[in-house]
Symmetry: none
Subunit: 218 residues, 4 copies
Amino acid sequence: MTETEPTPRWQRRADERPQELLDAALAVFVERGFAAARLEEVAKRAGVSKGTVYLYFSGKEALLKALVESAIVPQLENIEALAREHSGSSRELLVKMVDAMWRGIALSPLSGIPKLMLSEAGNFPELARFFLEAVIQRHWALMRRVMEEGMERGEFRRLPSDLAVRIFIAPMMMAVFWKHSFMPLEETPLDMARYFAVALDMALAGIAAPATNPKGIS
Amino acid sequence: MTETEPTPRWQRRADERPQELLDAALAVFVERGFAAARLEEVAKRAGVSKGTVYLYFSGKEALLKALVESAIVPQLENIEALAREHSGSSRELLVKMVDAMWRGIALSPLSGIPKLMLSEAGNFPELARFFLEAVIQRHWALMRRVMEEGMERGEFRRLPSDLAVRIFIAPMMMAVFWKHSFMPLEETPLDMARYFAVALDMALAGIAAPATNPKGIS
Amino acid sequence: MTETEPTPRWQRRADERPQELLDAALAVFVERGFAAARLEEVAKRAGVSKGTVYLYFSGKEALLKALVESAIVPQLENIEALAREHSGSSRELLVKMVDAMWRGIALSPLSGIPKLMLSEAGNFPELARFFLEAVIQRHWALMRRVMEEGMERGEFRRLPSDLAVRIFIAPMMMAVFWKHSFMPLEETPLDMARYFAVALDMALAGIAAPATNPKGIS
Amino acid sequence: MTETEPTPRWQRRADERPQELLDAALAVFVERGFAAARLEEVAKRAGVSKGTVYLYFSGKEALLKALVESAIVPQLENIEALAREHSGSSRELLVKMVDAMWRGIALSPLSGIPKLMLSEAGNFPELARFFLEAVIQRHWALMRRVMEEGMERGEFRRLPSDLAVRIFIAPMMMAVFWKHSFMPLEETPLDMARYFAVALDMALAGIAAPATNPKGIS
DNA sequence: AATGAATGAGGTTTCATTCAT
DNA sequence: TATGAATGAAACCTCATTCAT
C-alpha cells in the first residue's frame, strides 16, 4: 500500500447518482412529508451536495414525480404476469398475487410510495390521479377479475367484487402505512411476517364460500 | 317561557373561536399536511385574520397538538361506555363498537385526525406516541378484550387477538384514509355506506368460528 | 416632551410603501442592472426588510415591470399636451418639447428608466417592446409631426423626418445615459445645463433651413 | 496545384481559443449583461465546455476585462493615425475620423463594448474608469483638437469644444446603443447606412460656420 | 379583541468555480 | 488539454410570528 490515493473529495458517479438520489428522496419524503423534507437532507443521504441534485432533477417536485412514476408500475407488471401464467384455483392465484405484493412492495422501501401519495394527494392532485389510475385501479382491476372468477367457480362467496377487492387488501395496505408511521414508535414493533400470515388467513376466510359440507359429507 | 335567554344583539364569538379555529386547522392540515398548510388559510376558513390565531393558540404546532389531544378521546370514551353497558353476544358488541366508530369518527370530520397523524408521525414523534398510546392502543385493548371474550365463548375462532384486532379494523381505517386522499379524485367516489356493510360482513366472516354444525345438530 | 414614544421598531405605511419601493428599485436597478441588483438592497433603501417587498410586488420582475410601465408615459402625455396647446412656430414648439423632456425626464430620476431598458432589452424583450412602442415610438411620432410641419413651413430644411427626429434627440439621450454610467466617474462631472444649451443650439442648427437670404433679398 | 499546404488533419485550436472565447463572451455579455450572462453559454458559443474557459481566463470577470482592455484601443489608434497623416480641411478630417469610427466600431461587433460598459459602469467602476480615460476621453481629446483647429480656421463656428465633441458624436453613439437594444425589436430595423449619412449631415450642419455668403454673393 | 403590515429565519434554486477523469 | 460532474456561496422567495394600530 504505497502512499498514493489522497482520497479525492468526491467521485464521478453519473450513472448511479439518479437512483441514489431517488432512494434518498423516497426515504426523506416518506419520513417527513414532501413539504417538510429539506433537499439538503436528501442530498446528504445520497452522499452529495445540494447542487448536485439539480444536475439530475429539475427540482424538488421533479424528484417526487420521478419517484412515483417509475417505481411501482414494474412491480405491478410482475403481479400481472403471475395472473397470466397461472393455472390452478383462484384462491391459489389470489394468494400468489398478494404474496407478490407483500414481498415486492410491503417489505421493500417501495412501501413508502403509497404512504407518500396518501399524504400528498391533496397537494399534487395530478400526480395522485396518475397513481390512482396507473397503480391502484389497475391493481384492483386485476384482483377483481381473479375474485370474480373465483366466485363463478364457487371458490368464493358472492360479494360486490369492486368493494371486496379493496377490503381484501386493506389489511396489507394498513401494514404498509403502519410501517412508515407508528411502527417505529411501538415498544415492540409489529412482526410483519406474523401479521401477514394472520391477515391473509382472515381475509381468505372473509371471502370463502360458505362451508357447504366442507370436505363434503355426503 | 318568560324573558329568559336574552338573545344578544351581538354575539360574543370569543368563546366559540377556539373550536372554529380547530375545525379550520383540521381541515387545512388534513388537506395539505402540516408543513404545507398556511396559517393564513386556517385563519381565513375560520373567518378571522392571521393575527387572531395567536390570541388563542401559541402557534401552528399548538394548533396541531390541541387538535389531536382533544378530539378523538371523547369518541373513544363513548365506545368504551358501550362495552361497559353491553349485555349480549360478543359479536353484537363488536358490531356496536365498530358501528360507533364508523359513525363517530369515519363519517365525521374527525376522520381527518388519523390521516393527519399517519402523515405527521415522522415529524412529531412525541405527539404520535401520545396518539398511539392514548387512542390507538387504547382502542385496540378494548377491542381485544371483546374479541378474546368472543373466542372464549366460541363465537369467534382462535386467532392471535393482538393481530386480529388490527386486521379486523383495517378495512374501516382504510376507508378513513381513502376519504382524505384519493376519494376526491375518483370518478364515482366510494359509497361509504355500502363499503361499511360489506367490510363488516367480510371482517366478521373472517373471524367467525368455523361452521361446525351451524344450528348445531349434535 | 414627556417620556413616551419608545420609537417603535417599524411603522405601518401601507400607502407610501409601493412608491418608496419603486423609487428604491429604480435606483438600484439602474446602478447595478436588474440581474446584479439584490432585492435586499432595494428593501434597505426603501427602509424596509426583504419580506416587505413581497407584500407589494409579486417578485423582482414585477418590480421592474411596474417601474417601466408606470413611470414615463405620464411625462410623455405632458409633452403631447404641449403640442396640442401650442400656437407659434414649429421651432418654438420643438424647443418647448425638448425642454419639457429635459426637465421632466433627463434631470429627474426617471432618466434611469431609459438606461435600464437599454441594458435589459435583451433579457426582457416583451417589456422592451412595450417601452419601444408606448414610449419611444410614441415620442418620435409626436416629434416627427412637429418637424414635418416645420419643413412644410420652411422653418426646417428637408430631411428624412424619421431619422432626423432620432438624430435631433440623440444628444439629449446621450446625456441621460451618461448621467447613469460614466458621469459619476468623471473628474469634473458634466455640467448638464451647459450641455443642454449647446446641444439644443447645435441640434437646431443641424435642421435649420439654409439661410438663403432669410426674407430673401435675391 | 501540387502538394503545397499540408492542410493538417487536426487543427491546433489552442492558439485561436482565447479570441474565440472573447468573441463569444462579448456577444453574450452584450445581449444579457454581465451578471445575467452564464459562462456556460459563453463556452457553448465558443464551441468548448465550461471548464475550458478556465484554462484561458481566470474567471468571468477576467473575460470582461480582457474584452474591454484589448478591443477598442487599436481602433482608436487607427483614428489617431488618420489625424497624423491628414492634410486638408478640418471638416474633411472630421468626416474621415467619424467614418472610420463608424466602420471600425459601429458596424462591427466591437460596438457591443460601449453598450456593455454603459450597462456595467456601476458594477465595475475601475474598469469603467479605464474605459473612460483610455478610450472615451482619448477619443474626445483627439476630436477636440480637430474641432478647435476647424474653429481657428473658420470652418466651424465657435462652440465650447469639449461639449461640441460629445454632441457631435452623440448620434453615432446612439446608433451603437440602439443596435444592441431596441433595433432587434423594431418592425423594420433601422437602416444604419442612411442613418449615418443623415446624422453626419446634420452634425456637420450643427457646427458649420455661419453661412456668410455661402459661395459668397456680392 | 382584532387586524394585517412588517419582520427575518429558513428553504429552494442558480451558477461561477473547482477538480476527478 | 479538455471535459463536465460536483461543489457551495449567494440570491430569491415563503410564511410563521410579532407588533403597531
